[in-house]
């Protein structure tokens, strides 16, 4: 079927300024169109329901080497959560690190249609793409980890921004990547010898460059290349008391590079980087200071990294941070360093209501979301699976929409955290419009995905319909109803296909893999000549075998941009 008409829903389409008006959405050949012949279209009656663009997730670890090591490490995580095969779907397992098919289905069930994996080790890019090919329904993309690549460190050390830009363009092409990911800049290189950097101005051992210089350098590169997203930064010192100061410094360090107030940096899973206090005993929230800064500046976007009280699996490229987490928790630990590029660590973890620190972390993420006024600057994530599995997003939505829901959580958390938390003092309750911003419109805007996150003519027909009636229901009083509605979309439409109906998967088309193709031919040729010379020295694989060819992607979708380097 090629045309669809969604009738009478309450439409929330923030990018087009639609705030819950009752209207029809017409779809033809996978795109949203002005009008269709009603008699030939399949009609979806959405009366009494809300209609939003398909959900967009800017940061969720769903595929690749690290995620898969997490799956391998944790059979006990899978035993209790299985997905049986159906005539339409493949079988799989959850819980915190679902198998690939299950990942696709579970996102689709929640009305999500685009998900970004934020940590692809370039050398293992093929692995990420192989898993993407087995992750159905949703569109995907991956951010290569570039903040500790030797080539980057060396170019930036010599202040060769243009060459660095050409290199990054080459890397995006080679890895079929989407954005520049920076994790604990310099710290991962130091971790190669079991060390770390202490703050944004602590020089990287053996390289004589500071994290500040890496962040600024790559921010300039990002601009030169006109990349659709900003640099995507996991700060230094993540997960350590007092780190909010370093986070403020990180946001400040690119202030002078901002043009026309456009975003220049994304601080990811900000909760983990908004810790105050000197140690775990005096641990406190730094959210207020960060929110204040973000409210006063336009060049920053954040995502929450909301804690969920559950057992999950932490996994980041931040090797030294994961080691600390292993020492703190005593849980089993995986470390996986990647030559010339990056590292990774995995530790199973349980967030407990009664733990002072964990309860504070819950509060910090809530404070960030509630104190930052502009929803276009902060996005809903749990840094899946680090702060909790993505399947808990509907719960987070219910907390944001309902003070009552937050109070219920607060009642049950650690006493000391209860007293310290700012959450009880905040009345703000998100509207559905704001929810649509932080779960799709804002994220797609920050990602520069022109055809996603909105329902304007020409957009991809990725649509979520939830069984919630804002006219008859006082949402703030019914958080559980809200959660249930967002957990099981009434319909999820992907490229014009109905993929989910009443929370059940009914069809499983493959999704695209986006990658950014920077056009800078001359610079690229020159850089590849230089790379070729050094490559054998730096890597144990051949230069020719490193790039992932486009045909490797099940449905490649390149986003072409013109760079300012020639």
């Amino acid at each position: 079927m090629t045309s669809l008409l969604i009738k009478n829903g309450f439409v929330f389409d923030p990018l087009n300024g639609v705030k819950g008006e009752k209207m029809d959405i017409a779809i033809e050949n996978g795109k949203i169109v002005e009008k269709i012949n009603e008699r030939e279209a399949k009609i979806i009656d959405a009366s009494g329901m809300i209609v939003m663009p398909g959900g967009v997730d800017i940061h969720s670890h769903i595929a690749g080497a690290k995620v898969n090591s997490g799956r391998l490490l944790r059979p006990e995580d899978h035993f209790k959560d299985v997905e049986p095969k159906t005539p339409i779907t493949r079988s799989g397992v959850g819980y915190s690190i679902p198998s690939t098919f299950t990942t696709g289905y579970r996102y689709a069930r929640m009305g999500y249609t685009t998900v970004m994996d934020p940590a692809m080790p370039p050398l293992k890019a093929r692995h990420t793409h192989e898993e993407f090919n087995d992750t159905p329904i949703i569109d995907k993309a991956a951010y290569p980890l570039l903040g500790d690549c030797w080539f980057v460190l060396e170019y930036l050390k010599k202040n060769r921004i243009e060459e660095c830009a050409a290199y990054v363009a080459w890397m995006l092409k080679a890895t079929k990547g989407y954005a520049i990911k920076i994790v604990n800049p310099g710290g991962l290189e130091a971790w190669g010898f079991g060390r770390n950097v202490r703050n944004i101005d602590d020089p990287v051992p053996n390289f004589g460059i500071t994290p500040r210089e890496i962040i600024r350098g790559l921010c300039k590169v990002n601009k030169l290349l006109n990349l659709p997203h900003t640099i995507h930064v996991h700060t230094n010192n993540l997960g350590k008391p007092g780190n909010y100061i370093n986070t403020l410094e990180t946001m400040r360090c690119v202030e002078d590079l901002v043009e026309n107030g456009k975003p220049a940096i994304h601080i990811t899973h900000c909760q983990f980087s908004a810790f105050a206090g000197d140690d775990w005993r005096t641990f406190d929230s730094g959210a207020e200071a960060i929110a204040k800064y973000v409210n006063a500046h336009s060049h920053v976007t954040l995502d929450m990294g909301q804690i969920i009280f559950t057992e999950t699996t932490t996994m980041t490229a931040d090797g030294p941070f994961q080691f600390i987490l292993y020492e703190l928790s005593g849980n089993k630990w995986v470390n996986s360093d990647v030559e010339t590029e990056t590292s990774a660590g995995i530790v199973p973890f349980q967030y407990k209501r009664k733990s002072f620190v964990h309860a504070m972390q819950w509060s910090i993420a809530m404070e960030l979301a509630l104190l930052i006024q502009d929803p276009w600057k902060i996005f809903l994530t749990t840094d899946h699976p680090n702060a909790g599995p993505f399947t808990h997003y509907p719960r987070v939505i219910s907390w944001l929409i309902s003070r009552k829901a937050r109070e219920k959580i607060l009642e049950r958390i650690n006493r000391k955290a209860q007293r310290k938390s700012l959450v009880p003092t905040i009345d703000r309750e998100y509207s559905l419009y704001e929810i649509a911003v932080i779960t799709r419109a804002g994220q797609s805007k920050a990602l520069g995905l022109k055809n996603k996150g909105h329902l304007g003519v020409g957009a991809d027909a990725d649509i979520a319909i939830y069984n919630l009636n804002p006219e008859t229901l006082d949402l703030a009083q019914k958080p559980k109803t809200v959660r249930k509605a967002f957990e099981r979309a009434a319909y999820t439409i992907k490229d014009g296909n109905i993929t989910v109906k009443n929370g059940e998967v009914v069809s499983t088309p493959s999704g695209r893999t986006f990658w950014v193709n920077v056009e800078a031919p001359q610079a690229e040729i020159e850089i590849s000549k230089k790379l070729q010379q050094k490559f054998g020295e730096y890597y144990t694989v051949k230069y020719e075998n490193y790039p992932v060819p486009e045909h490797y992607l099940a449905i490649p979708a390149s986003i072409n941009v013109k760079a300012e380097v020639q």
């Binding site: 493949r90 397992v93 293992k124 093929r126 190669g192 010898f193 292993y326 990647v338 144990t540 075998n545």
Partner: protein
């Protein structure tokens, strides 16, 4: 004549990707850069002695040639009708084929298991118990000043491991005078070859004096260069070039590892020796381990298959983990078949589990010891088997083999093996990495492309394609959705 460079060698887990092949008339005639094992594979894979190119079906006790269509139809019928089929092998094919194999196993409600079940299975169980600290091989080249090989002999099993990734390499932070030594050695060998060639060419067979030079290591080598420790039950070639060789008594690896763990934490050991090794030597080795900048412990089947198995690896991983409190230390299993790692990787992303995956309940279940191939066969539970690129008849215990061959047995393999000789249906396939492309994972889980350098015989399709056709046929039989 055609030169194909940067070919990945589809033989061992080192997955060297710098092989250069000369191809003439669809034959590989010359191999550069590979070790003897790799070279032999490229030159001799098509040898008709080890290969049949037509599908075979057993009729009245005899394997007779059949069409591919018939072989596939029959295979599909057997699998679709079986109540608990076993789909085993997977370590010598591409991840692309493995993905289809898993879908097939799920479709027929069978068990998918790969060869790690009989090699590094204990290592995997151990990782699931305690985790592990690892890295890619380049990290070792650049950083490791201490390399330990425990229960493995890279010199013969992974011949280029030392020269490409560890002891003989040079990296950013780890210079090597081995390099110079090796270059000299190569030059000498080259000279010898040239001499021999000259001898052969010269009409008068003059005796050219050949000074028999044995190379002893330069004394500085042992001083501050990258150190190498070998732990094994016997003195192997690898042990001969090591700085320390610890000859552990058979089946006493666990005791030795635990002793080292004690010593790492500065505990006194009131013993003269452990596992046959004097305590003074152990203390010295411990100092080397604690004192290094970056250490790596490679372990092989000598450790996983000696008596304590999982406990051994637990202890090994724990030793490495403990060492991380003092310095940087990593550990890695030496994987044998070129894509056994890829089998674990693909199994895991599709099902959550690395091997021994049972789909009989409609979802993946994992319980090695129960859902693993050998155990299923030993219990006599399976009623049909599909073997892909593997030879269980030669490697499984007798009781398991008996059950395997008593039930319908289908083999997809490019070469003739003891298993294929016992099969009821044989579908010869293209050699992946030579006649078909795909992806394989190196022992450090770095994915590499496998190349197609020559055309396969017309009747030999890639594993992936054969499996897809079987799957399609199975679905037709079951009347479910078409593939």
């Amino acid at each position: 004549m055609r030169v194909v460079s940067n070919v990945t060698c589809p033989v061992c887990g080192s997955l060297c990707d710098d092989i250069e092949l000369i191809v003439e008339n669809n034959h590989v005639t010359k191999v550069r850069n590979a070790c003897a094992v790799g070279e032999a594979k490229f030159l001799a894979f098509a040898d008709p002695k080890h290969r049949r190119v037509k599908p075979l079906i057993r009729k009245n006790g005899e394997l007779v040639e059949a069409s591919l269509d018939e072989a596939i139809r029959r295979t599909a019928k057997i699998l679709a009708e079986a109540s608990y089929p076993l789909l085993y092998g997977w370590s010598c094919t591409s991840t692309e084929a493995i993905r289809v194999g898993l879908e097939l196993a799920e479709e027929v409600g069978g068990v998918a298991d790969n060869t790690s079940t009989v090699c590094h299975g204990p290592s995997i169980l151990s990782i699931q118990n305690v985790g592990f600290s690892s890295c890619t091989l380049g990290q070792i080249r650049h950083r490791a000043d201490l390399v330990i090989y425990w229960g493995c002999n890279p010199w013969s099993a992974h011949p280029r491991h030392l020269e490409r990734y560890t002891t003989f390499t040079e990296g950013r932070f780890q210079k090597s005078i081995w390099i110079r030594y090796l270059t000299k050695l190569r030059a000498l060998i080259g000279k010898k070859k040239a001499q021999r060639a000259a001898e052969l060419a010269s009409p008068r067979k003059e005796v050219i004096s050949k000074p028999e030079r044995t190379f002893s290591l330069p004394p500085t080598l042992t001083a501050k260069q990258r150190k190498m420790i070998v732990v094994d039950v016997r003195k192997t070639r690898s042990a001969e070039i090591a700085d320390y060789f610890l000859q552990v008594k058979p089946n006493m690896d666990y005791e030795l590892l635990q002793a080292l763990r004690m010593l790492v934490f500065d505990r006194e050991l009131d013993l003269d020796e452990v596992a046959g090794i004097p305590i003074e030597l152990l203390e010295e080795v411990t100092d080397v381990m604690v004192g290094c900048r970056f250490g790596i412990l490679f372990f092989g089947l000598g450790l996983t298959m000696s008596s304590a198995k999982v406990r051994n690896i637990d202890a090994g991983i724990s030793l490495v983990r403990d060492l991380n409190k003092k310095t940087k230390f990593t550990i890695m299993p030496m994987r044998g078949h070129f894509n056994v790692t890829g089998a674990n990787v693909a199994f895991t992303w599709q099902t959550g589990y690395p091997y021994a995956v049972d789909f009989s309940q409609g979802f993946p279940q994992y319980n090695p010891g129960e859902t693993s191939a050998v155990d299923i066969l030993a219990r006599g539970d399976s009623d049909a088997a599909l073997i892909v690129a593997s030879d269980p008849v030669a490697h499984f215990p007798k009781r398991a083999v008996k059950n395997l061959v008593e039930n319908p047995l289908i083999v997809i393999d490019p070469q003739v093996t003891p298993t294929s000789l016992m099969a009821d249906i044989v579908i010869p396939s293209a050699f992946v990495g030579i006649e078909a492309e795909g992806t394989a994972y190196r022992m450090d889980r770095v994915p590499l492309p496998l190349k197609k350098v020559v055309e396969p015989p017309a009747t030999c399709l890639p594993d992936e394609v054969i499996l897809q056709r079987i799957l399609k046929e199975v679905r037709k039989l079951k009347g479910g959705k078409a593939a």
